[in-house]
């Protein structure tokens, strides 16, 4: 019985390690931290695997991973403390626009990675979850713990910001 559980975990959850590692790398932006957090998340996933009630394993694993990332960052160091306010950071906020421009003018001009790195984590995670993991809005909402409407607006804003940056660097 538990043998089956272990086999099932090996077959369905372990193969998702690249997805988990990718999200961790984008969120933590540090190779070693990402590795530690992926291990921790997997351990947690395994511990609670028996209570996993089916559904999308990937969304489930990424939910755990994301929580581990935020816990890690909060507890370990203030590597990236970017307060994010939906109102303050509205699309037309000129201060934010200036930040985008600065980002492009930095040495890594035009590098998408460099620009991404300067986005708040909330933007990075929806981008990774949607563009790379191709999760539905509903699953992204589950993973990030916000309503579907917020997923929709964050994703639109994240894309809009990237669009401006790509356009300027083109």
């Amino acid at each position: 019985m538990s043998q089956n559980l272990h086999e099932r975990f090996e077959q369905t959850v372990l193969p998702l390690i690249d997805d988990a590692y990718t999200l961790a790398r984008h969120l933590l932006r540090d190779e070693h931290d990402a590795q530690d957090v992926v291990q921790e998340a997997y351990l947690r996933a395994w511990r609670y695997y028996a209570s996993f009630r089916g559904g999308d394993e990937r969304a489930w694993l990424l939910t755990i991973l994301r929580n581990c990332c935020y816990t890690w960052r909060g507890g370990r160091r203030d590597a990236e403390h970017v307060p994010f306010d939906e109102e303050l950071h509205g699309l037309d906020a000129s201060s934010r626009y200036a930040a985008d421009v600065r980002a492009v003018d930095d040495s890594d001009r035009g590098s998408l990675e460099a620009v991404l790195g300067r986005l708040p984590a909330q933007f990075r995670e929806v981008l990774v979850l949607r563009e790379l993991d191709e999760l539905s809005y509903k699953d992204i909402a589950r993973v990030t713990g916000v309503p579907v409407g917020t997923v929709m607006s964050r994703l639109a804003r994240a894309r809009e910001r990237l669009r401006r940056v790509l356009k300027r660097s083109a």
Partner: protein, 263 residues
């Protein structure tokens, strides 16, 4: 209606993702056929998304991470169905001997229950080989570039406080430099599914990792093992389990351990 559609990046973005309701999607589609402004925006959005998908980095988990994850999982019990076995069932998978071992095992279990030893403790008892594997894996990993220490210092007054707030206990960090074992630093690692303190010393070009964590198990004398060219010494005393791992020769590692144990 078209006015409402005009302004929303959100609607277009969700339209691309197929996340609008069928009615709303039809509205947007119709609007796009007639509105130049929105259709231009739509195309820009498609191009942005294509650029994102092409350029967002996909990372591949390194083999060492896969190995670490497997090791960690193998060493850890999964918590069984909460409804069926609320708390104590967690270690069932790890204790096949309970069901095979008959009276001796039953006695051990009842002794464990009687003395109030918790789940954690019973895990510790049975998982020694896995803990050893974790400790060894951690030691090997620590030898890779940038993995050795989180806090690098030869001063114990820097290393010891560094653990504050990172762990639920404070490891002993004695100064052994005069005896030929300078302090290198410390880090937090994972062994048996919990964060543990690792204090690093050196001897000539050899590194010594000292793992420690609190335990509720009773004292245990020094146990020495050698695996893949590494010497490992472990013991428990006064509520702390310690593992010393190095490729240093066994006799020098033994001296180091005795210094450590007596400090």
């Amino acid at each position: 209606m078209s006015q409402a559609l005009h302004s929303t990046h959100e609607a277009l973005s969700a339209y691309v993702d197929g996340e609008l309701t069928p009615d709303r999607a039809r509205e947007v589609a119709e609007h796009l056929t007639t509105c130049m402004q929105c259709s231009a925006e739509y195309e820009t959005l498609l191009a942005t998304i294509a650029a994102l998908r092409a350029n967002l980095e996909r990372y591949q988990a390194p083999d060492v991470l896969r190995a670490r994850v497997r090791t960690a999982i193998a060493a850890t019990p999964s918590i069984s169905e909460p409804a069926a076995r609320p708390e104590g069932g967690a270690s069932r998978r790890r204790r096949p001997w309970v069901w095979q071992g008959g009276i001796a095992a039953a006695l051990l279990v009842s002794a464990a229950l009687g003395s109030g030893i918790t789940l954690l403790a019973s895990r510790g008892r049975t998982s020694t080989p896995d803990v050893a594997a974790d400790v060894l894996a951690s030691h090997v990993r620590s030898l890779m570039p940038d993995h050795l220490t989180d806090v690098r210092s030869s001063d114990q007054h820097n290393v010891k406080p560094w653990f504050n707030g990172r762990l639920d206990y404070s490891p002993n960090v004695p100064r052994l430099e005069e005896q030929g074992f300078p302090l290198v630093g410390g880090r937090v690692d994972y062994v048996g599914g919990r964060p543990v303190a690792v204090v690093v010393y050196s001897r000539r070009q050899h590194l010594i990792n000292v793992f420690s964590w609190p335990t509720r198990l009773g004292d245990a004398p020094l146990g020495v093992t050698a695996t893949n060219g590494y010497n490992m010494i472990h013991w428990r005393s006064r509520g702390v389990e310690r593992w010393v791992v190095s490729d240093l020769n066994a006799s020098e590692l033994r001296s180091f351990t005795e210094l450590l144990a007596s400090s």
